[in-house]
């Protein structure tokens, strides 16, 4: 069954007729030709499809496109405002935080989500004092909070410092 929706991806508004079964990931890649988010597992297990949906990181492979009607979607490409790389993009390059790069757009969006969540003081399962109002993105915190993003090339040892550098610059790492 087709349904008429409007997707706003990376600032571009697109009216679209989609089969209700279409995921946000497939709508972006196959219909809007925005191939920044990647398909790894298609089951919420790898994080390659991570985008920011109304500012929150989610797995776009488990979001039905019809439920994102009118929402603001930002992919890793969209984080490069005006063609200028985001601080996370620069940091991933500087720390060599990838090999094949397939997981990278998902890692970048997830890291953007981690920074925003830390700025709001959200704890994680490795946070010692749950009642502390502020978050400190130690290496252990970054590993835990980025656990939803798998890297088949195992670039983790470089991803953690790449995220840590931006966290430090943004004041969410002491």
């Amino acid at each position: 069954m087709d349904i008429q929706i409007t997707l706003r991806v990376d600032g571009v508004q697109a009216p679209l007729s989609v089969d209700t079964r279409t995921t946000l990931l497939d709508a972006m890649r196959d219909r809007l030709r925005n191939t920044s988010p990647k398909k790894g597992c298609d089951h919420g297990q790898c994080g390659a499809c991570t985008v920011l949906l109304d500012g929150r990181r989610v797995n776009s492979c488990l979001v039905l496109a019809v439920t994102a009607d009118g929402a603001e979607v930002t992919t890793s490409d969209g984080l490069a405002a005006g063609g200028q790389p985001h601080a996370l993009h620069r940091s991933f390059v500087e720390y060599d935080a990838y090999q094949c790069g397939y997981c990278t757009p998902g890692q970048i969006c997830s890291a953007a989500g981690v920074l925003a969540e830390a700025a709001q003081g959200w704890p994680s399962t490795v946070t010692e004092d749950l009642t502390a109002g502020t978050a400190d993105l130690t290496d252990a915190e970054i590993r835990e909070r980025m656990a939803g993003n798998l890297c088949r090339c195992a670039a983790y040892a470089h991803i953690v410092p790449a995220v840590a550098a931006v966290a430090g610059a943004q004041g969410v790492r002491r």
């Binding site: 069954m1 995921t23 994080g47 989610v58 039905l64 704890p123 749950l130 009642t131 835990e144």
Partner: protein, 336 residues
């Protein structure tokens, strides 16, 4: 995936009426479990009634000191809620230990409670499974069942239509069972309140039913009653890797001491049964006792006495006992 009609209701009663009129329909929360199962062909709804933007996303104070959690509150927001962190740490810890940051952002409180088992025969439509295809048998009993139940299972041979050894996968629900949460439901016949211990069921003679909800019943909120003064609580989860994995066994413990003896104790186990397992026998054994290592160990043993371990999951029995003992001793040691 089967074709389906997508519906958004303007009010709760409209959502309930729409689903009541669609015997093969389902509510849609965050979709992190349902959409996954639809892709696998395990769930085949012909109508989806989206309730994520319809049910409440608020966590509100209840008169008397409890909290009311709207069914659509995301798992991430609930785990980060200051009142939950301060008053119900066991619940915050359970939420934060589940899934990934991305999934917790999308998953709702109602959907989390009603997520289906991760049994790999249930999720593979080519395999026998009494839960997915009633009467087809249970592939897990003589297959891979390392993650399966050791308490309350129905074990009647692999071809029996009643056998099911599945576990309930939610972390959040284990903490809520320990906290005596109450589930608020709106159905075709009106509202009702279900003490959470009565929401999930054992497989009994009908493994196809996970819960006591009737078709069309919508979870609108979950109420947390206040805990007795001086209660300390903790969730501890053991799993195959440090993060982003379901529990092998987990424990939710809330305990209050008075004059050195256990005045109030609530214990629940995850990963051991078809429902979050309230450890009533262990609670009974502990009440009024000083929480010594001997008393706590005896209580944990009493709870697991009825266990029915299978060839691959026997490790869960000592694991559950040890988690109960360690967590109780750590908590009471710290609060003394």
């Amino acid at each position: 995936m089967r074709e389906f009609r997508y519906e958004r209701a303007t009010d709760l009663a409209g959502a309930v009426a729409t689903l009541a009129a669609a015997p093969d329909g389902a509510y849609l929360g965050g979709g992190t479990n349902l959409v996954d199962l639809m892709k696998l062909g395990v769930a085949t709804p012909d109508v989806l009634v989206d309730v994520r933007e319809l049910t409440s996303t608020a966590v509100e104070e209840l008169p008397g000191g409890g909290l009311r959690i709207g069914a659509a509150v995301p798992n991430a927001d609930l785990g980060a809620d200051r009142r939950v962190r301060e008053r119900y740490p066991v619940l915050a810890q359970a939420l934060l230990s589940g899934a990934s940051g991305q999934l917790r952002n999308r998953a709702t409180t109602g959907g989390n409670l009603l997520q289906r088992t991760r049994c790999s025969y249930f999720t593979d439509v080519t395999k026998p499974c009494n839960k997915r295809a009633p009467g087809s048998g249970c592939g897990a009993l003589q297959g891979a069942h390392r993650n399966h139940a050791v308490l309350g299972a129905t074990i009647d041979g692999p071809d029996s239509p009643v056998t099911c050894i599945a576990t309930h996968p939610s972390d959040m629900a284990v903490a809520m069972v320990a906290l005596d949460a109450v589930v608020q439901v709106l159905g075709p016949d009106g509202e009702r309140s279900i003490p959470i211990a009565g929401l999930h069921r054992l497989p009994g003679d009908d493994p196809s039913r996970d819960t006591t909800l009737r078709h069309g019943e919508l979870i609108t909120a979950i109420d947390l009653p206040p805990l007795p003064a001086g209660t300390v609580s903790r969730y501890r989860k053991s799993r195959d890797r440090a993060s982003f994995a379901f529990a092998l066994v987990s424990v939710a413990v809330a305990v209050a001491l008075e004059d050195g003896v256990v005045a109030d104790v609530r214990l629940a186990l995850g990963g051991v049964a078809h429902k979050p397992w309230r450890a009533a026998a262990a609670e009974e054994a502990l009440r009024g006792q000083p929480p010594t290592e001997a008393a706590v160990t005896a209580a944990a043993r009493a709870e697991l006495a009825a266990a029915t371990p299978l060839p691959e999951n026997g490790f869960k029995v000592p694991l559950a006992q040890n988690l109960l003992v360690r967590t109780l001793l750590d908590l009471t040691g710290a609060s003394r």
